[in-house]
Amino acid sequence: MDIGLLGQYLVNGIMLGTMYALVAVGFTLFFGVLDIIKFSHGDVLMLGAFIGFSAYLGLSALGVSNPWVLVVCLTVIAVAATAALGALIARTLILKLKSAPPLNTLLITLMLGIAIRESVRLFFPDGSNPKMFPPLLPSSAMEIGHFTLRADSVILVAVGLILIIGLNLVVNRTRLGLAIRAVAQDAETARLMGINYTMIVLVTFAIGSGTAAIAGIMNGLYYNEINFGMGLLLGLIGFSAAIIGGLGSLYGAILGGFLFAALQTIGAVALPFASAYKDVFAFAVVIALMAWKPTGLIAERSSDRV
């Protein structure tokens, strides 16, 4: 195979991996603080992309035309809105069900995901059709043989990686991060140490949901299209990535995200059957991985409580 083509697949894989890792990081953060799976994450991501899109329409109508200003503004608006929504979800649904069986929380967030998805489909103007997301980033490209490196992909990957590193620093180096980790380890003790438990949970959900909005906008900018159903698959992939990495570990989420992207790319390129089977292949490997490592590649440190 041509080396340029190989490089192309590598770049695409990294792009996908960054997006998946961003989604998976959200799952892992929520699991870390509350031991729950928030399945509506993918749909919050989709909502973030739609809010960004609406913000773009609004700002364009107001006469803003500089693409950099636009992209920054729409990201800020989308992140703020989804962060608020994330905190609201945590407050109204998830903290309420804290003592219920874990299955109930999983179900309630699954159903919430459907509710968000269906609301966008039914109530967003012409929501059932895909929307053209504006190409706001410079699309100049560098070509070497078969290898094309587009400026927008580079920017998106850079932003994604910076965000992941930034989140990692926040969790591991700041006082807020210390509080989040403390709540994750032992909520009761963390409370005794004077940590505002509810506040930390809400902030964590806000951070995770904001990250999802950025992933959604990245997705929109990369594919130039958003639709109401995009969150389902991305959420499932992010969830699978977080699980195969090992829930509760940020590195596991990043590893899982890139691993899933690698599986999809391998499925599309290197395997003998049609590339349409790439998702089938990737999910089959996920199931096989779960049989091999039932608690993920980077296993949770906590042991079973009897």
Binding site: L106, L110, L112, A115, S240, D279
Partner: protein
């Protein structure tokens, strides 16, 4: 003993009246056309739900002490409903769909409600049943009644591919296995040309010993809808599934399933084979779902991958949850609500996923035990001391 004997006639009367009332209600619900009438009937159901608290103890006793009579009455009521709708396609289709969804949900119930195994691929196993009947009826080598059985067996067999990860994982980790399978199944069908791709396949009709289900039987000179056949078959299948599930619950197998769900470590300490219990529940559940799917495929005659998506799996989970985990009559009631409500209120058809998601959220917040919660299990449910 004798005291009990003398007073037990009253509960039976209450029970039989309740069965008749519910049957009459479903007849009205399936035959009314206008939205106003449907809404009126829904209001009536809400009132009846409040009233039913008063008669609940007698009803429980009737089901308990005269279970043969009561089950017979319910079966008779279902047959009367079929006879009343014998000439109309649509109500019979709804009726059969409800029963088949109920059968599938009973299968899920064994997994969720008894053994505590999460399965978010219900629609996928349903789809395996339907696709089995599509492929095998097209070949025409296997008699349709065997195809039905094979649909269930193949669904269970494919389910066993997942058994290793299902057994080894717990909680959230096990959820991902079935969710991944559900997505995998639909994307596989979408791209596989042999199985019709996104367009799907047509399914041949059921036939039994020369009795062709594709044409309506002429009874007493009345030309009936061909759905009468399927409605009868669905009643038979649902009754069979219900009886089996009840027997399973009552047996020592059901007892060990309940123990495994409540505490794996404790039941392992008591010598219950956890793996065996889970394999049994997963296999038997998928078998029921596949059977229902196979008959459903034959009934609607045309299947496509979009009917078996992850959202449809969630709809099935919603049935189990709305009814109450492990509660068989609850499952029946919830299946009726989930299938019939959007079909009768055509305004709601578009909004059905939104409606059910909000309903389940409200349910989980305010009544997590379901509409007809399953009580604490007696050691042997329905056991009566010898007279």
């Amino acid at each position: 003993m004798t005291m009990k004997q003398s007073t037990s006639a009253a509960p039976l009367a209450v029970g039989l009246t309740a069965v008749a009332a519910v049957a009459a209600y479903f007849w009205a619900f399936l035959s009314v056309e206008s939205n106003v009438a449907v809404l009126g009937l829904l209001a009536l159901a809400a009132l009846a739900a409040i009233f039913s608290r008063k008669i609940a103890p007698s009803l429980d006793r009737a089901m308990d002490e005269h279970d043969c009579v009561m089950h017979g009455a319910i079966l008779a009521a279902l047959l009367v409903l079929i006879a009343l709708f014998a000439e109309d396609h649509f109500p019979l289709l709804m009726f059969s769909t409800t029963l088949l969804y109920m059968t599938a949900a009973l299968g899920l119930n064994i997994q969720f409600g008894y053994a505590g195994i999460v399965n978010f691929a219900g629609a996928a196993f349903f789809g395996i049943g339907s696709y089995t009947s599509a492929v095998l009826t097209a070949q025409g080598l296997v008699p349709p009644i065997l195809i039905l059985v094979l649909g269930g067996i193949i669904a269970a067999a494919i389910g066993f591919v997942l058994i290793l990860p299902v057994l080894r994982t717990r909680g959230h980790y096990s959820a991902v296995v079935t969710i991944a399978f559900s997505v995998l199944f639909v994307s596989f069908l979408q791209v596989n040309d042999v199985l019709g791709g996104p367009q799907g396949l047509s399914v041949g009709a059921m036939s039994l010993l020369g009795w062709d289900f594709g044409t309506g039987p002429t009874l007493f000179g009345v030309e009936t809808s061909f759905y009468v056949n399927y409605a009868l078959a669905s009643v038979a299948l649902a009754a069979l599934a219900f009886t089996f599930t009840r027997r399973l619950e009552r047996s020592w197998l059901g007892l060990s399933l309940d123990a495994v769900r409540l505490d794996e470590t404790a039941s392992a300490c008591c010598g219950i084979g956890i793996r065996r219990a889970k394999v049994l529940a997963f296999g038997f559940g998928n078998l029921l779902i596949g059977l229902a799917g196979a008959l459903f495929g034959m009934m609607i005659g045309y299947i496509a991958p979009t009917s078996f998506t992850f959202s449809d799996s969630l709809l099935m989970v919603a049935i189990v949850l709305l009814g109450g985990m492990g509660s068989l009559w609850g499952t029946a009631l919830a299946a009726a609500i989930v299938v019939l409500l959007p079909e009768k209120l055509q305004v709601l058809q578009e909004y059905r996923f939104l409606l059910f998601s909000v309903m389940v959220i409200a349910m989980l917040l305010f009544r997590p035990q379901g509409l007809l919660p399953r009580g604490v299990r007696r050691f042997v449910p329905g056991w009566r001391p010898a007279e």
